[in-house]
Structures are given as structure tokens and as C-alpha cells.
Symmetry: C2
């Protein structure tokens, strides 16, 4: 993972709502309507956040009928964790 991509990923989770969305998705796939219930934001705002998370490939979407099921892209997330882990201090 390049520094540039890592910076974009950090930026993507550098918003409290989006970080919490990522945390929720670690428990498994959730549809937009479920996520929406858990935050005090409107549906368009959630849609905006999900688009940002999908754009950096941290989250993926599975469309099923009317529903959008969002889930973490584990491969990308592990890549990100490895990047962060490699920044050694002291």
C-alpha cells in the first residue's frame, strides 16, 4: 500500500461517523437501513458516508432487491492494518 492510499484510507475513517460505521461492520454485513437506525443522521448523509467508504474500497456493497448490504473489505482493511503496524516508533 502506498503512502498516498494509506492517507486516503485514514482520511476516510477520520470522521467519527465513518469510523463507527466501520466498527459496526466488523460484526458482519448490515443493510443501510439498519445502519441508519444507529446514527442521528439523515438517509442522504449516510449514503454520502457509505460512498466515501466504498470509494477507498474499505467497504463493499451487495445489492439484493431493494436492499444494500454493506460489509467490510477485510483484505483491504488488513492491508491497512499492516501498513500502520509497520510504522515503528522509538
Amino acid at each position: 500500500m502506498t503512502d498516498k492510499e494509506a492517507a486516503l484510507l485514514c482520511k476516510a475513517i477520520g470522521d467519527l461517523h465513518r469510523l463507527q460505521i466501520v466498527q459496526l461492520l466488523t460484526h458482519g454485513e448490515q443493510c443501510a437501513c439498519e445502519l441508519l437506525e444507529k446514527f442521528a443522521i439523515t438517509q442522504p448523509t449516510l449514503s454520502h458516508h457509505m460512498r466515501i467508504l466504498c470509494r477507498v474500497k474499505l467497504v463493499q456493497v451487495r445489492k439484493e432487491g431493494k436492499w444494500c448490504h454493506y460489509s467490510l473489505n477485510c483484505e483491504k482493511f488488513v492491508e491497512f492494518k499492516n501498513y500502520i503496524e509497520k510504522i515503528t516508533c522509538c
Copy 2:
């Protein structure tokens, strides 16, 4: 570390220049003038970035005469790495 603090830390390193500054500081303390040479930005812009990194306590400064020596706050950084590591996927 709270979600809120983690989000602020992510935001702080969610800029390519600041992420690269953090990377440079893993090699040890550096003064502002040294850092400045490594980026195509002006001195006020670097000062701005350093203030943001210091504000979230990811970087600390040691003033010595005319010079400001910046270094990573390892404790805070490790805390952040642990936070990220605990977000388990799949």
C-alpha cells in the same frame, strides 16, 4: 482511546504530507528546518501541519535555542496502533 480521539488521529494523518512527516519522525527527532527541506511546501505550511500533529499529541516538540525539534510521541502512537489492531475483521 475513544472512537472520537481515534477519528481525530486518523484525520491528522489523513493528509499525505502529515503521514510522511510521521514516517520521517520514526527515524528520530528532526528539526523543522530539516523537515522543510524534504517537502515542496513553504515554511508556514509546514508549521501549520506540525501544529495539527502536535494538537492531537502524535508529535511533540522540544525547543532548543532557535530550533524546534519534533519527535513522535511513541506512547500515543502505540495507543493508536492498538486501537486499530483491535478492529478485527471477518
